[in-house]
Amino acid sequence: MREINRVVMKKDALQLVTGKPAYTEDLAPEGCLIVKALRSPHARAVVRHVDTKAALAVPGIECVLTAEDVPKTRFTIAGQTYPELSPYDRLILDTQIRYVGDPVALVAGRDAACVDKAMRMIKVEYDVQEPLLDFHQAVDNPIIVHPEEDWNPRVPVGGDNKRNIIAQAEEDWGDVDAAFQKADVVIDRTYHTKQVQQSMMETFRAYTYLDEFGRLVIVSSTQVPFHVRRIVATALEIPKSKIRVIKPRIGGGFGAKQTVVMECYPALITLRTGKRAYMVYTREEAMTVSSPRHEADVHVRLGASRDGMIQVISVESLWNGGAYGDHSPTTVTLSGHKSIPLYNRFSAFRFRYTAVYTNTIAAGAYRGYGATQGIFALESAVNELADTLHMDPGALRLQNIVQQGETMPAYFNETALSCNLGECLKRVQSMIDWEHVYPRQVLPNGKIRAAGLALAMQGSSISNVDVASATIKVNDDGFYTLSIGATDMGTGCDTILAQIAAECLDCSVDEIVTRGVDTDTSPYDSGSYASSTTYLTGMAVVKTCRSLIEKMKEKAARMLEHADASELEFTGDAVVDPASGRKVTRQELGNAAMITNDIALEATETHYSPTSPPPFMAAVAVVDVDPETGHIDLVDYAAVVDCGTVINPALARVQTEGGLVQGIGMTLMENVQFDSNGRIQNNSFMQYRIPGRMDIGSIRVEFAPSYEPNGPFGAKSIGEIVINTPAPAIAEAVYQATGLRFTELPITAEKVYMGLKSKK
């Protein structure tokens, strides 16, 4: 292994750190029309009339579009493989307003100032209606969020718009009720997590123009370029062949940009005006009309024997989808499918879920994709079980967790071909000196130090759905170009995939140029989401390299006038005939391919995976809680990850650290609050605090690799799993420090203080 399990600097690192133009806004041409959306201040209303006369008279205004000007085909903006599990329930502009921020009109003009002025001059008559804001009350509520007759679920997922249900299902394995009756102990709790914002530093943005062939080009900060093409074509009712999507560098995604949040707007303006258009979301828009994590209630019941064997697990999830279906039918399934299989000694499990419509912001995809909520609930319940039984939570887990080689009935009967979870658990306990830190100690300054443990899992790509491809070409002097449809959003996949190619082709990473996504030229890839890129696109790269080597041998055989290419050997720098010792260098091959040639030195392969191998991890949080103020200091956080083979240790480590801190933010500070009219109060980084460097104590990450036979060089995913442990680990540490069991996030000083006060 030369290039695998090696720190390689990201190919774009020097350009990015030194501030070179690379992102959508840096590349947008001069003279774009500026596009903004006029948004409803009401959570539920019918738009009776929009008077645009005065706005259109503002100098510089090019066009103002309202619901009557846009296509009438419903679509979904969830960036998923077609046919999407997400119902087609949106219009670009609709007369039915479903949440605060739903757009009423699009305004385009020569600069932001004239557009702002025009927006102030649009008069909208609303028929304001009572909104449905509480997701607990959604099912069969007389207020129906989607009353329309053309509500269109492309795939049946148990939804019923007349009942405000987006998706619903239940799954029982074994005799659940009997198992609960037999259990010595039953833990029964409901956990509430709120909406959380991905808060990537670069908000949503795209620019659009018509190219020299009259085709619509969309340059977008997106994780899903091919889905953008399909979704925009559907929404605008134009052929997909008329659209080209280009992905430049992305300033963070975390799932937010797996939803096609705003590309339709500038695209429509360009189609209508023929002019270049640019739209950028303000931070306020990114906080209020975007694609956050779903608010959820997860009801967990655990049945166990007195000796701590978990005999039955029940997870019932209620999901607040908000105003549109988007990623609800899919995220909700992970709350059970990617939590329950952590344990594998039970005789029965139950997983039921309902995702509902309300008149709040539509939720989308956020790192963890529903597993985060499920794991907070299940792991909190397991901690409570250990506490109830007076058992060490590590020891209890060790006797219940899934082991390598086992079939996982709660995970589509997949076999855990790679699982080092036990080692993760033992290692993290030793990293943190668990024996001494758990459960608690009173410090000389009066604070209480305590520890909490949690496990997590995720998947690696969507089994039997996601498609990944790679194209590799040999060029002049033998350098390679690797084209991918996967989207590097800072994760480093342009580099990681080049490392995989370099390993296969026995060359250095520098000899491989990676070219990111242009839907006209890149091979198809579902996109970078669902923890798929290293695992799935990585495997596509491996297959492509194999094919390319065959082509190079074929060409070399021709050049050596050797009859049988299969007798030749590829050494990385050359193709050699071992019998004669004669060879053709890669440089010669590349150059020969450009004169009198009929063998394309280029290969494309495509890959899907029938399984979604889970990465696993274990983590311990150590907190100091001040009993006087309720303040929580996260003093130490240790995590051990099994992501299979670590392709690039530096990037894997930073992915882990970053994911942990996002999870810590969700647990301790990030708090979306609505007022009684359904308006989000936390609509800036001043009111919605994400962790800063002062909020973070020690964070330590180690790896305990397994070897996944279906992954490239044994690799599994890492991008998402890393956000899943902080909530249950910190909640448990706070419980051990205070005796207060928090089942709702975030756990703030105020809540701890009030809890301690009411306990006295």
Binding site: T18, G19, T203, G251, G492, V654, S684
Partner: protein, 155 residues
């Protein structure tokens, strides 16, 4: 109104709108390293130097730079290139969007504090948000950078 100022060492004369912010002016001048992450002075992405001191360009009126020196990362490419290698080796660049503002503050800190302690570093850079890295790798980068610069960190 008309202003005259130095941008990365060169004299510039510009006609600006009265309410124009420095951030918008700098982007117009082609300083694409300057990014906007929040519009509310909470993220640090738009950090540039005004008279060698870091300021948030989204909150400085362009009128205030009249007669003054403005420095963006475009004007510090030599130092930025060196620092970038440390960031790159740690994988600490990630999406990169917050990097220029962060680097501007790091370079200002090195000038101002010499050999800072870990706490001083955290305080100095507290206003620079990053959503990708969780900050831990930033500290590894800074320890190496300061050590190899011969400054070191005070323990």
């Amino acid at each position: 109104m008309k202003i005259q100022y130095w941008l990365n060492g060169k004299v510039e004369n510009d006609e600006i709108a009265p309410g124009q912010m420095l951030y918008d002016l700098l982007r117009k001048k082609g300083c694409y390293s300057v990014k906007c992450g929040c519009e509310t002075t909470a993220c640090g992405l738009c950090t540039v130097w005004l008279e060698e001191k870091p300021v948030l360009s989204c909150a400085v009126l362009a009128a205030r730079i009249d007669g003054k020196h403005v420095t963006t990362l475009e004007g510090l490419q030599g130092e930025a290139q060196k620092f970038a290698r440390y960031m790159g080796q740690e994988g600490s660049d990630q999406c990169g969007f917050c990097n220029p503002g962060f680097v501007m503050n790091v370079l200002a800190m090195v000038r101002e504090l010499g050999n800072p302690t870990e706490e001083e570093i955290k305080e100095y850079l507290a206003g620079n948000l990053c959503r990708c890295t969780g900050y831990v790798s930033h500290m590894r980068v800074l320890k190496q950078y300061l050590t190899e610069k011969g400054k070191g960190m005070r323990l």
